[in-house]
Every structure is written in structure tokens, then in C-alpha cells.
């Protein structure tokens, strides 16, 4: 199988701001790939380069086997894009906008359009000016998903949707994935990526800091363990790989590096353990590890949209 998207060492500067700083990204054909990062990390800039809307300063980018800048028009027939900020024409109706985007892309499945209108509960006869942010997003999503394309590029597509619509969105992504389409989903909603994506790339300051399957990423991270025994648990603090230990006699709570989990379990086996719960880290925790503990990173987060 070829790669739907492959990016190597992508650099893009805006004046003195370096939005992308040697970014790498590989999305294999048929996968649903999560593209995570805080605001201003360069997600939108990357997607715009992949769509040929921006021209990279250096680096190599390939989309569906073509050059996204040079072959923009033919490539766009084979992909659908949902921008982060959906702007529409105030005096067109939502239905007109859907048809227009679909047609300009090269065609639209009418039956699928009706099905999606129903699923997302969008009134297509209303003028775009009367739509809320969430409804404008629905217009772009329906226009995209009613197109029979190979690749979907979605930039934070659910930021204005309510939980019910979020579920509709996830169902739709699973459907297009089941028929073999590739999806690149930029997001900072962890649960959404956890629910949908088989692979994840995490970027920060225009560089990919982590990439792999969720399982692979978890491998790099700590597991949270809560254990209760009939007798006081001792000696945990001296074990390698144990962090943030809170020991309270017979009860202990701690995080452990994945590589050291076997040693910790052997140690616990010597106590009379009543209950033991462990859970993989949430994506949120992964995120916090990359961004949360660095003070300068925390300061950057409010500069939302710096990459736009």
C-alpha cells in the first residue's frame, strides 16, 4: 500500500514566524490519522500546504502521489477538505452551498446528500447568514462526505458541534473509512481521536514530536495503577519507573513507566492484593506530558490561530 500523504522536513515561515519547522507526517492509504497539537502548533498551516493553498519554503510533500502545489486542481478532484473556519456566502442557502462545493469538486452523490442532511439535521433551505457556527460546519461536512473521494482532510471539524452531532460525525467517518477512504483529522479533542483514529501524529511548534498507533504511543507512557491489599504495601517508592506515588497503608496509587510494569507487578505479587485497577493514559495525559509540564508551552497555548 502506498502512502496517501507523505511529508518530510516541511518548513513554512510567515515573515519572522516559523510556523512549520521541519515537520514530518506519513498517512497510509486507508487509515484514519489523528493530527493533534495545541492551537498555533501548525496544524492548519500543514493542511493548507497539503491542499496547495500555501507553498512550503522547503521540504517535500506528496498527496495521493502528486505534488500538492503543482497538481492542485487534479488532486482536488480526489479529496475533500473541511476548513477549521467554515465561511459561506450569506445569501446562498445551505443546500446551494453543499451542491456548489460538491459540484466544483467533481460531483456529489444525491442519495448520500439526503441521508447526511437527515443525519446531521440540517435545514438546507435556510440562508447561510442565519446559520450558527455548528451549522456552517455541517454544510462543509455534508458537502465533503457526500463526495466519493479517496481522501478527507478535516481541520477540527467538530469544534462547533454538539455531542449528538459529534456521534453522527464519528459514524460518518467510520463509514467512509470502511469503504477504504483515508482520513486526516486534525483535532484537539482527545476523545474524538481516541474513538476514531488508528494512527496519531502529535505536533508542537511546527515539529512532529510523536507519531504512531495509539498502542505504540501508550508504550512510551506511564500506566496509572491503583492497588489495595490486605496488608500495608511497602517498598514501591524504591522501585525503578514508579512516579507520583501516594501510599496510604494498604492502598497505593502511582504511575509507572510501561517498561517497568513487569517489575512492579512482581513486587506487588508478594502482597495479598484485593483489588488492582490500571488504565492506559488518556490522550489528554499524553498531551499534558508533551505540553503541560513545559512552562513556555503553556504560555503559547493562548496564542490561538497563530498559524492561520
Amino acid at each position: 500500500m502506498t502512502d496517501a500523504i507523505s511529508v518530510e522536513g516541511l518548513v513554512k515561515t510567515f515573515g519572522r514566524t516559523r510556523a512549520l519547522n521541519g515537520l514530518d507526517l506519513v498517512v497510509r492509504t486507508g487509515e484514519v490519522h489523528g493530527f493533534l497539537g495545541p492551537n498555533g502548533a501548525g496544524k492548519t498551516t500543514t493542511l493548507r500546504v497539503l491542499l496547495g493553498l500555501l507553498r512550503a519554503d522547503s521540504g517535500r510533500a506528496q498527496v495521493l502521489g502528486g505534488d500538492p502545489w503543482r497538481d492542485a486542481t487534479p488532486l482536488h478532484r480526489r479529496l475533500a477538505y473541511v476548513p477549521g473556519e467554515v465561511n459561506l456566502w450569506p445569501n446562498l442557502s445551505g443546500g446551494e452551498a453543499i451542491d456548489l462545493f460538491g459540484d466544483l469538486r467533481g460531483g456529489l452523490d444525491k442519495a448520500r446528500r439526503e441521508e447526511l442532511l437527515d443525519r446531521f439535521r440540517l435545514d438546507p433551505a435556510k440562508r447561510c447568514r442565519t446559520y450558527s457556527k455548528g451549522n456552517r460546519q455541517k454544510v462543509a461536512l455534508i458537502a465533503a462526505f457526500a463526495s466519493d473521494v479517496e481522501l478527507f482532510v478535516l481541520d477540527e471539524p467538530t469544534s462547533g458541534l454538539d455531542p449528538l452531532m459529534e456521534a453522527a460525525f464519528q459514524q460518518t467517518v467510520r463509514e467512509v473509512s470502511a469503504r477504504g477512504a483515508t482520513v486526516l483529522l486534525s483535532s484537539h479533542i482527545f476523545s474524538e481521536v481516541e474513538a476514531l483514529c488508528s494512527k496519531v501524529s502529535i505536533i508542537r511548534d511546527g515539529v512532529t514530536v510523536e507519531s504512531g498507533t495509539l498502542a505504540q504511543l501508550r508504550h512510551l507512557t506511564r500506566t496509572s495503577v491503583v492497588v489495595e491489599a490486605a496488608e500495608p504495601i511497602t517498598g514501591l517508592g524504591g522501585l525503578p519507573g514508579v512516579h507520583d506515588l501516594v501510599a496510604d497503608g494498604a492502598r497505593a496509587r502511582f504511575d509507572v513507566d510501561a517498561a517497568h510494569l513487569p517489575g512492579v507487578l512482581r513486587h506487588l505479587a508478594s502482597f495479598e492484593v484485593n483489588t488492582l485497577t490500571s488504565r492506559p493514559p488518556t490522550l489528554e495525559e499524553l498531551f499534558m506530558r508533551h505540553y503541560g509540564d513545559a512552562p513556555e508551552a503553556a504560555a503559547e497555548v493562548p496564542s490561538a490561530g497563530a498559524s492561520r
Binding site: 493548507r48 491542499l51 493553498l53 500555501l54 507553498r55 492542485a72 486542481t73 487534479p74 482536488h76 478532484r77 477538505y81 476548513p83 473556519e85 467554515v86 465561511n87 459561506l88 456566502w89 450569506p90 445569501n91 446562498l92 442557502s93 445551505g94 443546500g95 446551494e96 453543499i98 451542491d99 456548489l100 462545493f101 459540484d103 466544483l104 469538486r105 467533481g106 438546507p124 433551505a125 435556510k126 440562508r127 447568514r129 442565519t130 462543509a140 482532510v153 492561520r308
Partner: protein, 541 residues
């Protein structure tokens, strides 16, 4: 809750928001007027000098067009002649922008929604805006009286002068109030109101330029055309001349009519909506919309129709003047010279020169239209849907080309209709220029408008963030150099920069294809360069 509840608080809010803007506008106008009046006293101490100056001015229709008609030879009359037209325009624009700012702009930005959710009646917003703006006009009137009196001019004429400016400002506040109800965006409402001011200025200018000179060689009596214009009324009250106070009831009547209309409209529409209630649109697109050209046409359709109707009306008006020009002014050399200069013909038969000059005006309007249409490219790109459109299989050149087609096609339609309307009206009043000749004369302006359009595409491709300023600046420069270059006495090299300089002055001279072909080539080259630049650059929000 009464419909007016909360008006007082909204008035205070508006005054607070305008605490800098309105005072600057009012004080600035008064300072300019005081300086202008002082300059008159300084430059023309004796009556003979003033009479000579005014006699000279009266023979130049260009001066009459810009300044209005002289009303006498004393100091005040000259101060009036030199300043009143400008002051009336300032008062009118101050009022229109302020009314739109406190009505439609509030609604568009959603501020009115927050305010409306508080304990505020539905008429309160408009009432507050009008209260503030009418009050500002009163203050402006008093300030202008003060400026004239402090410069040493008689108080009687000063009062008429100040009152004329104040009521004219008020009348245009009413016009803007209606515009703010009709249009959904503040941009459109401002454009409507500012266009109304511009058209009013132009109409009275034409009426004044064609006016009849009195035996003393100083006073000029405007033709009926000036009476059509609300800006003309302020001048027709003749401050410092044989004053006619009753004329000032006309702007007041217009104000009352407009305010009545605006409140009637407020009562009929929803917050945020325009006059036409938001009907549900089609649930699916028609075939015609589904192409870049179909989309561009749809986006420009409403304004194009507006321009076409305006062109026909204007063309009918101009055509019906042909007869008047010939009869009344055949002996006036100043008029023939001006027309010859405007048309670039040297000397020719007066009527032909007049129509050739007016075709230049239509050419300028067509170019304005093209600029307006093409600037849509930028608004679609900056924070608009262009990103999503260009992420579909629409190439950049095709997207620009669609808008360019609308711009050039619309400009051509404007020129054809304006020429035809002029010809028909001319024939109706007994002229013999011929409809086809005038249609051709109109179309001869198209290459110049196309060149302006090409320039806008070039700037859009190369300097997208500057395109709004550069496009309008380019248009103004080409109009100033091309249409008024002769009047201003600019050197030929400067005038040649403007495409309008190269348009043959049909029907005063025969059509020559050379320059038109040249302009089309230049226009195509500019547009092609702009598209090439656009294809090489980032989309820039």
C-alpha cells in the same frame, strides 16, 4: 415596555462612542470654514476685485460644477461661493456615516442583539441614532455660524449658511436611516448613503454648470436640474445673496419623509434582517449556480442589476439634456471649451462634445463597477469562502477569470444600456445623434474600464493586502488624469498614464480602432500578469 424605552441610555452610549469622531468632524469643518472666510476677506478686500473674480468663475462651467452658483459680490457671497458646497458635503457625510454606525453597524456586529435583549424598545436604536445625529447637525450649524461671524462676516447670512448646512445634514441622516433599514450590511448602507450624496452633488453640479448668467455677469441662475438635488437646496437658499429661507423647508420635509419611512421599516422587519424578509432559499442549487462563473454571477447579480438600472436612469437624464445644451448654451464659449476639454476634442459641435464628455463619465462608472466586482476577490479570500472553493477542483486562474468575466461583462452592459438610454432620450427631445452611435460611443469606453480591471487583478495577484486601497487609488488617478487632465492643465505625459486619455471621444470625433485595441492588449497583459502572480503566491487571509 414602550418601543422607545431605553432611548436615553442609547443616546448616551452613542455619544460616548462618538466622543472623538463627531467633535473632530464638527470642529474640523468650522476651522476649515473660518480659514476659508478669512482668506476671502484677506484676498478680496474690494468689491471690484470680487466681481472680476466671480465673473471669471461664472464663465467656467467646471467651477460652477464644483462650487455652485455665485449669489452676489459682497464678502459673504464670495465666502458662500467658495465654501458652501464643500460644507454641505461634509455635513451630509458626517450624518450618513454616523447614522449607519449607530444603526446597521450595531445590528451587523451583533451589538444590537445584546442591547435589544436588555430593557430597550425596538425603536430605541434608530431614535437614539437620529437624536444624536440631528443634535450633531445643530451643533455643526451653530459652529459654522460662529466660524463665519468670528471671521468678521455679517451674522444674518451666517445664520442662513449654518442653517442650510444643518438641515442638509439632517436630510441625509434621514436618507441614511432608510438605507440602514434596506441593506443588511453596514458597508452596503454606507455605500448607498455616500452614493446618494455623490449623485446629489453631481446632479446639482450639472444643473449649476448649465445655469444662466445674469446681466451683471456675476450671478448665475441654476437650471431646474439643481432643484432635484437635496444638496442643491442648501445652495438655492442663497445665503448672503437674495436669501430664500423657504427652500430650507425642502430638506426638512425630506427628513420627515425618510424618518417616517425608516420607522415604518423598523416595525416590519426582524433584527439583523433587511427590508426583504429572509425567505427560505432553495434547498438545492440550480444548474446555473454550479460553476465558478455561475457563483461569481450570483454573488454580483444584485449589485449589477442596481448599476444597470442606475445607468439607464442616468443615461435618460443626460440624453434629455442634449436639447438644453444646444439651445441655452450654444453661445457660451466657456461651456464649449469645458466640454471640449472634458471630451478631449478641442472644439467640436457642442452637443457632440457634451455627449462625448458624458460617455467619459459612463466609462468612469463602468470602471467603478469593475473595481467593485473585482474587490470581491479579496473579500472572498480574506476570511471568506475562497479557501474552501480553491480546495475543490477549481484552479486559481479559473476562479479569478470567473470574477473578471462578471466585471467586464457587467461593465459592457452598463455602457451599452447607458449609451442606448442616452440616445433614446436624445431622440425623444428631438436630437439626431442616433441610438447606435451612442451605444458605440459607450462601448468605446470599455477598453479603458478593462484596463482598470486588469490593474486591479494585477494588484490582487501581487499585493493582496493593499488591493482595496491601490485599486481605488488607481481608479481615482486614472480618472483625474484622463477625464480632468485637460481642465487641470496636466502635461500630456501624465495624462497618457490614464487609459481614459486614449479613448476616442465619440460622437465628437470618429472612432479610431488603434488606441482601443492597444488598451485591450494592455488590459489582457495586466490581467494575465495578475493571475500568474496569484498562482504563485500563498492564499493570504
Amino acid at each position: 415596555m414602550s418601543a422607545y424605552e431605553g432611548t436615553g441610555r442609547l443616546v448616551r452610549l452613542a455619544l460616548r462612542r462618538d466622543r472623538v469622531q463627531l467633535p473632530v468632524w464638527i470642529v474640523g469643518s468650522a476651522v476649515i470654514l473660518a480659514a476659508g472666510a478669512a482668506a476671502v476677506i484677506d484676498e478680496f478686500p474690494d468689491a471690484a476685485g470680487r466681481a472680476t473674480a466671480l465673473q471669471g468663475a461664472g464663465t467656467s462651467p467646471a467651477v460652477l460644477l464644483m462650487r455652485g452658483t455665485p449669489v452676489g459680490t459682497d464678502l459673504g457671497a464670495l465666502a458662500n461661493f467658495r465654501n458652501l458646497a464643500f460644507m454641505l458635503v461634509l455635513a451630509a457625510l458626517m450624518s450618513t456615516f454616523a447614522v449607519v454606525r449607530h444603526t446597521r453597524q450595531n445590528e451587523e456586529t451583533g451589538r444590537a442583539e445584546m442591547i435589544g435583549a436588555a430593557s430597550v424598545g425596538r425603536n430605541a436604536g434608530l431614535t437614539a441614532a437620529l437624536t444624536v445625529v440631528l443634535g450633531a447637525n445643530l451643533v455643526l450649524g451653530v459652529a459654522l455660524i460662529g466660524a463665519l461671524v468670528s471671521a468678521g462676516l455679517p451674522a444674518g447670512g451666517a445664520v442662513t449658511f449654518g442653517a442650510a448646512c444643518a438641515v442638509t445634514g439632517m436630510a441625509f441622516a434621514g436618507v441614511a436611516a432608510v438605507g440602514a433599514q434596506l441593506f443588511q450590511s453596514a458597508r452596503a448602507a454606507n455605500a448607498f448613503a455616500a452614493t446618494a450624496v455623490g449623485v446629489a452633488y453631481l446632479v446639482r453640479g450639472i444643473g449649476d454648470a448649465l445655469g444662466e448668467r445674469a446681466a451683471d455677469g456675476v450671478q448665475v441662475t441654476s437650471t431646474w436640474f439643481s432643484w432635484v438635488s437635496p444638496l442643491g437646496w442648501g445652495m438655492l437658499a442663497r445665503p448672503y445673496g437674495e436669501e430664500r429661507w423657504w427652500v430650507l423647508t425642502l430638506p426638512v420635509l425630506l427628513l420627515i419623509a425618510c424618518v417616517w419611512g425608516a420607522f415604518a421599516l423598523v416595525g416590519r422587519r426582524d433584527l439583523g434582517a433587511g427590508l426583504i424578509p429572509e425567505r427560505p432559499g432553495p434547498a438545492a442549487a440550480s444548474r446555473g449556480l454550479l460553476s465558478p462563473l455561475g457563483l461569481a454571477w450570483r454573488l454580483n447579480r444584485a449589485s449589477t442589476i442596481g448599476w444597470l438600472v442606475g445607468s439607464v436612469v442616468f443615461g435618460l437624464g443626460i440624453g434629455s439634456l442634449g436639447d438644453l445644451v444646444d439651445d441655452a448654451l450654444g453661445g457660451n464659449e466657456g461651456v464649449s471649451d469645458l466640454m471640449g476639454q472634458l471630451a478631449g476634442t478641442g472644439s467640436a459641435a457642442l452637443v457632440e462634445a457634451f455627449f462625448a464628455a458624458m460617455m467619459n463619465v459612463f466609462g468612469a462608472l463602468a470602471a467603478c463597477f469593475a473595481v467593485q466586482v473585482l474587490l470581491r476577490l479579496r473579500s472572498e479570500e480574506a476570511g471568506g469562502p475562497a479557501e474552501a472553493v480553491l480546495a475543490t477542483a477549481v484552479g486559481r486562474a479559473r476562479w479569478v477569470g470567473a470574477h473578471l468575466t462578471c466585471a467586464v461583462g457587467g461593465a459592457a452592459a452598463i455602457l451599452v444600456l447607458a449609451g442606448a438610454a442616452t440616445g433614446l432620450a436624445d431622440a425623444a427631445v428631438g436630437g439626431d445623434i442616433g441610438v447606435l452611435t451612442l451605444v458605440g460611443a459607450g462601448l468605446a469606453q470599455l477598453p479603458a474600464a478593462m484596463t482598470v480591471a486588469g490593474f486591479v487583478v494585477l494588484v490582487f495577484g501581487g499585493l493582496p493586502r493593499m488591493v482595496v486601497v491601490l485599486a481605488w487609488a488607481g481608479l481615482v488617478v486614472s480618472l483625474a488624469c484622463g477625464l480632468l487632465g485637460d481642465v487641470f492643465g496636466l502635461p500630456q505625459a501624465v495624462r497618457d498614464v490614464s487609459p481614459f486619455t486614449h479613448v476616442p471621444a465619440i460622437p465628437a470625433v470618429d472612432a479610431t480602432p488603434g488606441p482601443m485595441v492597444g488598451l485591450v492588449v494592455v488590459a489582457a497583459a495586466l490581467a494575465a500578469a495578475g493571475m500568474a502572480l496569484f498562482r504563485r503566491r500563498d492564499l493570504s487571509p
